[in-house]
Symmetry: C2
Subunit: 347 residues, 2 copies
């Protein structure tokens, strides 16, 4: 069995992190990297610094005409429509696709028609497509579903992911409204200028489909987190009484009751008001289940891990556009991909 | 598609609990119950009390000559050798088998030859065999494996299941040495008269196989938990300085380092000394993951849930003797089994 050939498309924080993680795994060759941003040329220097991996020439999309890989890892977008043409091109070239785009974690949730097209394309070309990441992809959906298996009845599910925005830069501060007054925050929100978390719709539908719950409606809200103290990071300054972050919440209703409640408060310096970061899952039912991971699993490294660790399952899977609920129990990819691959799989 | 027909073999706490849980799920018919214990005739009265389910005649094994079910649920044993003949008989009658026997959660760990025989038998008769439960089956193995997927590197894994023995009766108190002096405990332990937890070997091998870790050796130890206060339950009285329970520990070594550490302290009235019951998973690596479920998921209801919720995955699975790591993400079976079954599955 020969090595698994991987193409990485997108070489920002995710793509380059995935590259570094793959470099430590045997029987995987990164045969190409596509990126067009200005950051590429700086990062390209990093490549030659990784032991045991020959320096790669970062190229533009034209290498797709000649390059043959088994899997394309896409780390370029957050949304399905932006990803679609890239995925189509890779699938038509006979490559499996692994995407870190949030909406790709459960594309049928927001884009059922594009999902159908991707599913048909993947089946036609006998490959698999999977989107995953720490959230959506695991913390607010796959892990919730796994924990539901200890229950004989479930009344409601609540998931809370409390994280710190302190490590992030200006772009994230602006997307989340950090440092604004409450009035400015509300105005930007009304204008649709605050992005917040992408993935609530995907997580809600993944849980609902896995547990065969019929969602009546979904409510998504977005409130400013007003700081009662001054908070400071290298990229943000929040005055007392101003916005330290953004508390998003999504509720999926079944039979007029809130059945799945997802809360995702994100702010700088949460410890300034005694708030510990964490991932919590609370299932009310028989039995009640109350789980807490503290501190929360970091979004950056967690997403890189979910992508890299999902490679064997993607290669072993049936063809089509899949999600975490179609695949075996996720697991850490330890050092060498070969033992993870089914013998019937021919590369 | 017709209803799924289930036979329950064993009608103690597990079997009767599984029966009650199945009664609330549509498109499942319990077509027979086998039990030979004296408890049966008391419990038989319960059956007619369950709404919507016709009273069943609890019978002996001879009903296997005439009865045709899709799945046999075995809740009779803890060990593979005792289960083997029952499993063989059910498989030869064309039934899938779902077992709550602890060793069946990963039979190849302790009984590789019997595992091979069961796997061959299941393939020959085109059925699937699965053992599961809360532990082994989930808390100290499947959930650990799922959480490992957020890591890009792992140095060690520690799992702690702290539970209370207070709800249990005389039999469990005796198996765990509750109420003995330290000297009596050590003597009984030396004589092999204290059973403790069955499942460490299974959980260790399941994790090791899923993550492709080569276990060098396994150490299992068993220490008395000495109470510094008097403790009392309806079935046990522990004097100050005597044994309140039993702290079992299993360590799996990789390259001379403790790689997987499983701790399972069980005692009556843990709150008497300020101990909260919980399930904890601590993965040291990149990133560190520290998970706690508090209180612990109850062993009885949790095992009933794991068995019932695994039914669809068992019916959808490839043929052979399987474990939780061969199956899709486990999930709650909500109300009706039909939507969970693959269309290609013909019952």
């Amino acid at each position: 069995m020969r090595n698994v050939k991987v193409l990485i498309w997108g070489f920002g924080a995710m793509g380059s992190g995935i590259y570094r993680a793959l470099a430590s795994i045997e029987h995987i060759d990164v045969v190409g990297v596509i990126d067009q941003g200005s950051k590429v040329h700086q990062d390209a220097n990093l490549l030659s610094g990784i032991t045991g991996v020959s320096p790669l020439l970062i190229q533009d999309e034209s290498i797709l005409d000649t390059l043959k890989a088994d899997v394309a890892i896409l780390a370029t977008d957050s949304f399905v429509p932006n990803s679609f043409d890239k995925i189509k091109r890779c699938v038509e070239a006979g490559m499996h696709v692994l995407s870190s785009a949030e909406e790709m974690a459960y594309p049928k949730a927001t884009h059922p028609k594009l999902f159908e097209q991707m599913d048909a394309l993947a089946k036609k070309h006998e490959v698999s497509i999977l989107g995953t990441g720490i959230n959506p992809g695991f913390m607010m959906d796959a892990l919730v579903i796994a924990l539901s298996s200890v229950c004989v009845s479930i009344d409601s599910i609540e998931v809370i992911r409390r994280n710190s925005l302190s490590p992030f830069g200006y772009a994230v501060m602006e997307e989340q409204g950090v440092g604004l007054s409450k009035e400015q925050f509300n105005q930007r929100m009304a204008e649709g200028k605050l992005a917040g978390h992408v993935g609530f719709n995907e997580s809600l539908h993944m849980i609902a489909d896995a547990l065969h719950l019929k969602l009546q409606r979904i409510e998504i809200t977005n409130e400013p987190i007003i700081s009662s103290v001054e908070r400071l990071t290298p990229y943000a300054h929040v005055q007392k009484g101003h916005v330290a972050g953004c508390a998003m919440e999504a509720i999926g209703y079944v039979s007029d009751q809130p059945m799945i409640i997802l809360r995702h408060p994100q702010q700088i310096e949460p410890s300034a008001e005694g708030i510990d970061t964490s991932d919590e899952i609370i299932i009310r039912g028989m039995p009640n289940v109350s789980m807490k991971i503290s501190p929360e699993v970091d979004g950056g490294i967690g997403t890189i891990a979910m992508i890299v660790n999902s490679l064997p399952a993607l290669l072993n899977a049936k063809h089509g556009c899949l999600s975490m609920i179609d695949l075996p129990l996720p697991r850490f990819l330890n050092r060498d991909i070969l033992p993870y691959l089914h013998v019937e799989e021919t590369l």
